[in-house]
């Protein structure tokens, strides 16, 4: 179960607070997966005390609302990512970035599908750059607004970025596995070096549009089965 409580001392109108939370949640808690199962109890609550000062933030005041909304989104994203890092049995923290779709929903749906594929997640545990499993999982989607054109799809594994948007200087170089539907020569040593990292990013370019989305997931290990095989109701 995912639970979260976020508190702030901003004075904010209830409607604006709900709007900010909806936005933040779509880009954080609703963009993570550990095992693909939705709980009966998932809840995120935001409480605003208004204790800092009397100036109320409302959606009508666009600039202040967006600044608050973005701060809330940043905190929510970090709290959501911590849940993935603590995923049962997880040994990898994986960012799935999908770009080049016609709509945000398409990018989100593709990222969600890859993030919940048991075969992709076991390959990540095995540190295998298995782009075939990635393509198979996204190719099964029927609910996209525009059908995938296999000749336009590119897949890369890249070292996870730090908070400043750069990769550590000693991290491996990005690994392009598929470019416009054509498999690229694979350097096993390079792939092994990159996939042995704890933090990995899978980058997909669908080649159809300008929209993008991110999802965060983890690998699927023996330990996950042990924990949940032992758990008793």
């Amino acid at each position: 179960t995912l639970l979260s409580a976020i508190m702030t001392d901003v004075h904010v109108a209830p409607k604006a607070l709900q709007s900010a939370l909806n936005y933040a949640c779509a880009r954080s808690f609703n963009a993570i997966s550990v095992d693909g199962d939705m709980s009966t109890n998932d809840t995120v609550v935001v409480l605003a005390s208004g204790a800092a000062d009397a100036l109320e933030i409302d959606e009508k005041d666009n600039e202040s609302f967006i600044q608050f909304r973005d701060a809330l989104t940043d905190v929510a994203k970090e709290l959501a990512q911590l849940v993935v890092r603590d995923g049962e049995g997880a040994t990898k923290f994986v960012t799935v970035t999908v770009k080049g779709t016609k709509t945000y929903d398409d990018a989100h749906t593709i990222a969600s599908r890859i993030s919940t594929s048991a075969l992709v997640k076991t390959a990540l545990y095995g540190e295998d750059a298995n782009w075939g499993r990635i393509l198979a999982s996204l190719g099964s989607l029927q609910e996209l607004s525009a059908p995938i054109d296999p000749s336009r799809v590119s897949v890369s594994f890249i070292p996870a970025q730090q908070q400043n948007g750069t990769a550590p200087s000693d991290s491996p170089k990005p690994l392009l596995l598929l470019h416009n539907g054509e498999p690229q020569p694979l350097d096993e040593a390079h792939a092994s070096s990159l996939l042995s990292q704890t933090d990995i990013e899978i980058l997909l370019d669908i080649g159809l549009g300008e929209e993008s989305a991110q999802y965060w997931t983890c690998d699927f290990s023996y330990e996950y089965v042990r924990i949940n095989g032992d758990y008793r109701s």
């Binding site: 939705m38 009966t40 609550v45 005390s49 608050f68 809330l72």
Partner: protein, 239 residues
């Protein structure tokens, strides 16, 4: 034939952060304690978060699971929030170790009992710690409730209600108080997830003010949320 050995999970100690008092938002009192829901005697399993501000100054929002078997605390919290239109919510009471999910009518009654008990102690605690009364809002149905843990088992509600009555004596706003509530959320998690930060907002009158945000989360398994602002209309009660 296994080609590799089982690996231990990566170390997570670095995920704890030391946070100064100044990073946490003003206007909150918190406490986490052990009341006997979890087997481990040292593990916090009940938490309370209260705002000390006047009711008209506070606001709340939430998103909830879209699972058709949405648990009693989910439905009750959505009900409280809707009834108050997001204004004047006094706080949140949370327990771990039992999800109070698929527990029928009794589960619903238990969730409401938690809301009322927490509302009562919350109103009293806030009135005693502030010079003015909490805006005259003594409504006891002004708390949200969250539960997590095993599904299909009833809450040990007597232990929980006794624990709620005792919580005011340990309320505070130090980083340790925030941490104790973050721990009261945990189930199979291996570390508490607590973050806080300051941020600036430029208001329409041109003034720039600094505010604070602090949040805690829990979760390790059964994680693939798709939450929305309302709960599914068909409740699992009839299935």
């Amino acid at each position: 034939n296994l080609t590799f050995e089982m690996r231990p999970p990566p170390p997570k100690a670095h995920l704890h952060k030391t946070l100064p008092d100044s990073a946490f938002p003003k206007g909150f009192l918190l406490s986490g304690t052990h009341v006997g829901i979890k087997k481990s005697k040292s593990a916090e399993d009940l938490g309370l978060i209260l705002t000390t501000s006047p009711a008209e100054r506070t606001s709340a929002a939430a998103v909830f699971t879209q699972n058709s078997f949405a648990a009693a605390p989910v439905r009750v919290s959505a009900n409280v929030l809707a009834a108050r239109s997001g204004r004047g919510v006094r706080g949140v009471v949370v327990n771990s170790g039992c999800a109070n999910a698929v527990t029928g009518q009794k589960g619903e009654e238990d969730a409401w009992a938690m809301v009322r008990a927490a509302g009562e102690v919350g109103n009293a605690a806030v009135a005693s710690t502030t010079s003015s009364s909490p805006a005259g809002d003594n409504d006891e149905a002004n708390m949200l409730v969250m539960s997590t843990g095993v599904i299909g088992v009833r809450l040990p509600i007597d232990k929980i209600l006794s624990g709620i009555q005792a919580l005011p004596s340990s309320l505070g706003s130090s980083p340790a108080h925030w941490d104790s509530v973050a721990r009261a959320f945990l189930t199979t998690d291996t570390f508490p997830k607590l973050r806080a930060r300051t941020f600036a907002v430029t208001h329409a009158d041109g003034t720039q003010r600094e505010y604070r945000l602090a949040g805690m989360s829990k979760g390790a398994g059964m994680i693939h949320p798709r939450m929305g602002a309302s709960v599914p209309t068909a409740t699992g009660l009839h299935a």
